[in-house]
Symmetry: C2
Subunit: 217 residues, 2 copies
């Protein structure tokens, strides 16, 4: 079935990486793919990051992840549990990652998104405070689930699929460990998981040190 | 079962309204609820907008909507179809509404979110251009599905549940009709649907005219 799947992706993009982890977890290795160059702005052209499965085309990463889980439910890792309480927590954490991603981007990529003449110390300071407050929430979640647990409990789930590519930016962009010690333990626990290792961004392998825009958080 | 459900909500908040439409569509009328006052900042206190079902607590609106659909699958309107192609399109449009909401907020609530001393004509202008481009995408989607269709085809779906509360801001905030004529037809088609009418924001009923921050789009 993997031969019917085609992925257009960008290296290091959290939405793309999520889908790649889901593909690995669902045992869909061998899917066709094409790496788009963000530097050449290929992702803004005809071919945007997209999952195709036969004639089905999806380019929202949450949509792609849910579609893969539903379509290949009994194959590979079960990413959304049936138990209502467990399922609710997986969904809750899964969509909360949007807040973490947004607040991380607003600090880490501030200069990328805001034109030079519009940048303001006060805005960046507020963005940093928002990110610090968000990180405290996640530290609390991990404290509650306990050391060695995944985001939504004892099993790896879709919450981890979508969270890891965001969490991985914190060490790469030099976030001080003391800002999110539990999240960094979680990162260490997951970084060598086969699905994550197999989908690790190639340009991160080539150049393991990222920019340092989270250094002064 | 509706008696086991408790909703803390804010009037006119798209995330809350989505969940209320889903509750209506799933025939869960009679659920308990408490209206939080955004003016009094009650939504920032102990009680945030939240869905509780017995001991299960969810406060991300997508999580609440998916949880309700899965838990009450055979009750009321089927909001996520089984057919893979239909399902993929429902998911795709559903999560794309996040882009529409974000870009609408960045224009309609610019002054609400950006402190006075940080407001810039150039930033608001860019936000408007982004919103206009986003609206063109949605006009194209509705053109493709055809007049009288829902967002993801011939059936009402979760895509409509989550889109309508965002779409409703355009007429309320005086967006020129010519910016999104098809979206406005879609609004007219849906605004009297029972689930939507029953959950219409009470302060919109009291005061049908909203601010005019989308007037010069």
């Amino acid at each position: 079935m993997a031969q019917d799947i085609m992925l257009y992706w960008g290296s290091g993009s959290p939405p793309c990486w999520k889908v790649m982890i889901a593909l690995e977890e669902k045992q869909l290795q061998g899917y066709k793919h094409k790496l788009l160059s963000f530097d050449k702005k290929e992702h803004k052209g005809e071919e945007v990051p997209t999952l195709k499965h036969g004639d089905i085309v999806v380019n929202e990463s949450f949509a792609a992840c849910l579609y893969l889980e539903n379509t290949f439910k009994s194959q590979g890792t079960r990413l959304i549990p049936d138990d209502p309480a467990e399922q609710a927590l997986v969904y809750q954490r899964m969509f909360e990652t949007e807040n973490l991603q947004k607040k991380m981007y607003e600090v880490a990529f501030y200069e990328h998104y805001i034109p030079k003449e519009e940048r303001l110390e006060s805005a960046l300071k507020r963005n940093k405070e928002n990110l610090i407050a968000e990180l405290k929430l996640w530290e609390g979640y991990l404290e509650k689930t306990g050391k060695g647990s995944f985001l939504a409990g004892k099993n790896f789930s879709m919450a981890d699929v979508v969270a890891f590519p965001i969490v991985a930016y914190f060490p790469r962009f030099h976030c001080p460990k003391e800002r999110c010690p539990r999240l960094m333990e979680y990162y260490e626990m997951l970084k060598d998981r086969p699905s994550i290792k197999a989908s690790w961004p190639p340009h991160w392998l080539e150049k393991p040190e990222g920019q340092d825009t989270l250094k002064n958080l």
